[in-house]
Symmetry: C2
Subunit: 421 residues, 2 copies
């Protein structure tokens, strides 16, 4: 693929999100309105919603989860921006990141100046068995599903391949989980706001209250190593390796670069974007890496004219802990086979060389599928503006990257944002 | 909305489609490959599929119909174009037309030079009650579905409003159906290749063979007026007012205008494109028109710098016969309240002033939802190239329009193509 030049550049002038979690009293519409109202807090010069010229909505499967397809015009109507053009973009769990990229291309084309990107998923209304079935439609029904796997199984196969190839211990995954829960505990919008240690202590307390034997876990590593604390889902992926089933929405407001200052003094600039696809898992040469992620990342770096070492922080698609470790390699932050060591050494912690998933990631912040890719952008916005509160990383970060994966790697999209002021 | 200028223009260099129909032995993948192989027949200078840089796929709900979401990267893999970026665009029955518009914007942005647009739906694997339920997810689950309607009901309400407002007889709808079946009978790819008269005669013959009383229908109008020939579905919409449940796929190859001659000596140029959205049916001021269609059409005409009278032929979204009549008014071909008369006077027939749905339309060609908007472009390609066989219209048509509607009008997209050579 030769590199193309966009006809004009695109800026991000604000983001918003609902709380992520399980909300039995809220629909996609409610969550989306919540995220849209939050946006107004961050577009610091304010804006008239009538300036929005289109809505690009990332959503995986409201048709299965809520019996509501054709969601984009409905949400536009609910936030009062009809009759602007609207559409839903679906690329499984990468829907949100792809929606953002398409919205950016639509601005670059000259057709729109101001575009709202949304992501939403309302997953918790169904029985968990139905959720598993719905999520399973993101896998290849002819070449993956017949293997008998659901998604924990696919990523377990990748984790097994990774461990075998690089001699990585299962403990490396625990470090990802502990870190992301620590970060999520500092994020008011996160689904899980407890650290693994707090979860461990609360389990001990509950056992004591109920008069059961109190487990003798000394620390998080002991807790996560014990199937009673951290039951296996699909070995080596255990409960605390898996992101949850979530409800949530997020939005991002993109505008043509030359208009950005009308909305905020501190826009971010979309300096790189890349996307790639792949066939089913059995087609791949390796399971210890996601080829589409490498391609999407490389494309985004080329467009931005930067290297992986220029990235100050990244929100990556940790649907499972192994996915974060593979991403940290596929994106070039660490050599292949070194990502697990970096995780164990704390290099990806908030105070590490390469902070990853300061928001808590999909693991702790939650994974409302279509919203996740846009939710990542919310964290980049906050960190690059120094408004991430207790989880703010030091050193005035200027460049942040988002990495969003669909299925077992059939889609990957990477977007890179820069603060210039 | 102010009018914007695209950074560069877009050409159509070929189209392809599968047969539309009910194929118990074919999946979406098979149908899509069939359509892609057909494309090669029309890109007259040939092309290397490796030149394709992205796939924009219109699909309404493969997740419900085939338990297969995340379809775009799978189809890319099946036609051998991985790892190009791929995505599914969903706007209910307008998915195909919207996918084409987004692909065009992506080319205009400078990011891609050559983009494949696809549309596909495989609907006939489910029981018809499940199909009705799946299609129902395209309606608003909070403000439309609770009224007790499925789609024939929504369009019946519009037909009733239209008849009341403009004193239109039910017979006007029969003329649309008769015309579209006549056109479909001349289209090898159509689901129904019998005229209404042939269907009537075959019903008589079957009655005779089975020793039942033979109905005394003299002509199509008598047949369609008789509930034994044309049973009511949702009055005034009867069986022959409704498009069928279908399987099918269609593709279109879009390229940057300056590259078009590398693919064909006879490209078409996308000279106009418009899209708009709307809220649920109860929000509308009128049911006798689709406001989003008027907006989308007006936008496309402004971009093209032409008027409705410049359109030589149109493929419009006749999911129900009333929809074709409303479209013929919303697009400005006839004044409001005159569309039904034009239909009765034969003005929209192949040899009329304003040929509409020469392909047979959704009514006779079939309506594989996500494919329909792209299938419309296939007909425009053939007619503007003079290769539509027995259904070719006269007078060397140069400008053709497609009109694709989602839901009960929540989405509408209009694209206009011109032949210049």
């Amino acid at each position: 693929m030769t590199e193309k030049k966009w006809s004009r550049n695109v800026a991000l002038v604000g983001t918003g999100m609902s709380k992520f979690g399980a909300f039995s009293d809220k629909t996609s519409r409610d969550l989306f309105v919540e995220a849209f109202c939050d946006l107004k807090n961050y577009v610091d010069k304010g804006f008239d919603p009538k300036r929005i010229e289109a809505l690009y909505l990332g959503n995986f499967s409201s048709d299965q989860f809520e019996k509501q397809a054709h969601l984009a015009p409905i949400l536009a109507s609910w936030i009062g921006i009809s009759p602007v053009p609207t559409m839903r973009i679906e690329d499984a769990c990468a829907s949100g990141g792809v929606a953002l990229r398409q919205a950016a291309l639509a601005i670059a084309s000259g057709e729109y100046d101001v575009v709202l990107v949304g992501g939403v998923e309302k997953m918790t209304d169904l029985h968990i068995a139905q959720v598993t079935e719905a999520l399973g439609t993101a896998a290849d029904s002819q070449f993956e599903i017949p293997a008998g796997f659901t998604f924990p199984g696919f990523y377990a196969a990748m984790a097994t391949a990774y461990m075998a190839k690089y001699d990585a211990p299962k403990e490396a995954f625990y470090h990802v989980s502990i870190k992301n829960h620590k970060n999520g505990a500092l994020n008011d919008n996160a689904q899980y706001q407890l650290t693994i240690r707090q979860i461990m202590e609360s389990k001990k307390e509950r056992a004591a209250i109920k008069g059961r034997p109190v487990p003798e876990w000394e620390d998080e590593m002991e807790f996560l190593s014990d199937p009673k604390g951290n039951p296996n889902i699909a070995w080596p992926m255990a409960l605390f390796d898996c992101s949850p089933v979530s409800d949530g929405a997020a939005v991002a407001l993109l505008v043509a670069e030359d208009l950005a200052q009308e909305f905020t003094d501190k826009p971010l600039y979309l300096i790189g974007s890349g996307q790639a696809s792949d066939g089913a898992l059995p087609d791949r040469e390796t399971l210890a890496s996601i080829p589409a992620a490498k391609l999407a990342g490389a494309q985004a770096y080329r467009m931005a004219g930067i290297n992986p070492e220029d990235i100050d922080l990244a929100e990556v698609h940790d649907c499972f802990t192994i996915a974060e470790i593979m991403a940290s390699e596929d994106l070039g932050f660490f050599p292949h086979g070194e990502g697990w060591k970096a995780a164990m050494q704390g290099k990806t912690a908030r105070n590490g060389d390469r902070p990853i998933n300061t928001s808590g990631g999909l693991k702790a912040k939650g994974h409302p599928v279509g919203a996740s890719g846009v939710g990542q952008v919310v964290e980049i916005w906050k960190q690059l503006h120094g408004i991430a509160g207790e989880r703010q990383i030091e050193g005035e970060p200027r460049i942040g990257l988002t990495h969003n994966v669909g299925g077992s790697g059939q889609t990957c999209v990477v977007n890179i944002f820069e603060r210039r002021d």
